[in-house]
Assembly symmetry: C2
Homo-oligomer: 220 residues x 2
C-alpha cells in the first residue's frame, strides 16, 4: 500500500506554518523568508532552482529535505499553496508560483471550491483542480499515483485537514527557532496526534529541530 507523506513543512516555535497576510509579493505573509530559509542553502533546494552560490549543503538538513520527491507519484496541495487568489479564479493567466517547468514532475491535485480545467506544464507537472474532501482527493490521488506514494504538499490548512482525517502516514516538520505570533497554526484540532503517529526529533545547527512522525507498523 502506498503511503501518504508530508515533507519539509516548516513551523515556527509557536506552531505557525505561514504568517499573516499572504500576497503575491509575500507568499508566507509577514513571515517573509524566515520559515524556509533553512532550506535555501541545501543542495536539494538549489537543484530545484533556488538562487545561491555553489552546489549547496549536504548535511542533515539536506538529507531530510531530499526525501521529498523519492517515490512520489502525485502531490495534493491546498489552493493557498498554488497561488494568492481567493474566490472565483480571475482571468489573470496565473499558472502557479513555479514558472512553466515546476519542480513537481508529477500530477498535482489542487484542492479548491472553484474547479477549473487542468494546466499541463513542462516536465511532467499537470495541475488538476478538485473540489473534494480529503478522502475523495486521496482516492483520486491514488488513481494517479499507482503504486507510488502521495505527498501532501501543503499549505498548513491542507496538511491539518489530512492529519485530522488520519490520512497521513509520515510527516517531516522543520521547527524554526522564531516566534511568529500570528498566521496559520498547524496544531489546532489535533489533540492526541501522538497516539496515532510516533515522533522522533533531530536537532540541527542554529536551533532548527526536525520532527519525524511515522505511523507505527508502517516502517514510515
Amino acid at each position: 500500500m502506498s503511503q501518504v507523506r508530508v515533507h519539509n513543512l516548516s513551523l515556527s516555535l509557536d506552531g505557525f506554518g505561514t504568517g499573516e497576510g499572504q500576497s503575491l509579493e509575500e507568499p508566507f505573509g509577514h513571515a517573509g523568508h524566515r520559515l524556509m530559509s533553512w532550506a535555501f542553502p541545501t543542495r536539494t533546494f538549489r537543484e530545484m532552482g533556488l538562487p545561491g552560490q555553489g552546489p549547496g549543503t549536504t548535511g542533515i538538513d539536506d538529507v531530510l529535505a531530499s526525501r521529498w520527491d523519492r517515490g512520489i507519484g502525485v502531490e495534493i496541495m491546498g489552493r493557498h499553496k498554488f497561488g494568492p487568489q481567493r474566490g472565483p479564479w480571475p482571468d489573470d493567466g496565473w499558472r502557479g508560483w513555479w514558472g512553466e517547468d515546476p519542480p513537481f514532475h508529477t500530477p498535482v491535485i489542487v484542492l479548491t471550491h472553484h474547479p477549473r480545467p487542468p494546466l499541463v506544464m513542462k516536465g511532467g507537472t499537470r495541475f488538476e483542480f478538485l473540489d473534494a474532501s480529503p478522502e475523495e482527493a486521496l482516492a483520486r490521488a491514488r488513481e494517479l499515483a499507482g503504486d507510488l506514494d502521495v505527498r501532501i504538499g501543503g499549505g498548513v490548512q491542507a496538511v491539518r485537514e489530512f492529519l485530522a482525517a488520519d490520512l497521513v502516514d509520515s510527516m517531516h516538520l522543520a521547527v524554526v527557532p522564531i516566534v511568529l505570533g500570528r498566521g496559520e497554526r498547524l496544531w489546532d484540532g489535533l489533540e492526541g496526534l501522538e497516539q496515532r503517529l510516533a515522533v522522533e526529533s533531530v536537532a540541527s545547527g542554529s536551533g532548527l529541530t526536525h520532527l519525524l512522525f511515522s505511523r507505527p507498523g508502517t516502517g514510515g
Copy 2:
C-alpha cells in the same frame, strides 16, 4: 549582575505548558503527568523526592534538569504553581504542593493579587506573597538573592509575563512530543522573541527536544 533564569519548563508540541482544568488532584489539568514524565526518571528529580526505582538517569535530560538550582538565590513563582486555589485564600491550611520541606531551600516569592503573611518552611524555603508587577517582583527578588541568580519557576503565565517584559536572561524548555490541544500556551504575545534571545536545540531520546534560550552577550 545576577541573571534571571527559567529551567525545566515543559511544553507540548503545540506550546501548552499546562493542560485545562487544574485541580488539587490534577496540578497539570488534563495533561496529567505527560508534560513532566521525562523528568521523573532523572537523578535530579529523584533527589527532589520523586518516587522511583534506583538512583535515576544521568544522561542529557538529567544534565539539563540539574542546572535548575545551581547558583539560585530566590525563586519567583505564579500563584497557580503554588496551589489550585483562586481568589481570596481560603482557611484551608494549604502550604504548597511540596510538604513541609520543599525542594527550593531559598526564599520563594509567590505572585498573587491576595497578599498574606509569609510561610516559613523547613530547609530554608520561605514563601513570601507579593502583589507586584514583574519588574517590582524582580527588584524584591534581587534584594533577597544578593549576588545569586533569580529563577522564574513557573507556571506558564508567570514565565510568559517575565518574557514579555524582557526580564529573562536564559530559559530551558523541554518540548514533549504530544499535542495537548488545550491549556495555557506559553507563546502568546511573544512574537519576535528570537530577536532578544538566541536559541539552541538539543534532541534527546523519544522525540523530546530541549530548547536553550540565552541573551547574547550574557554567556547565559
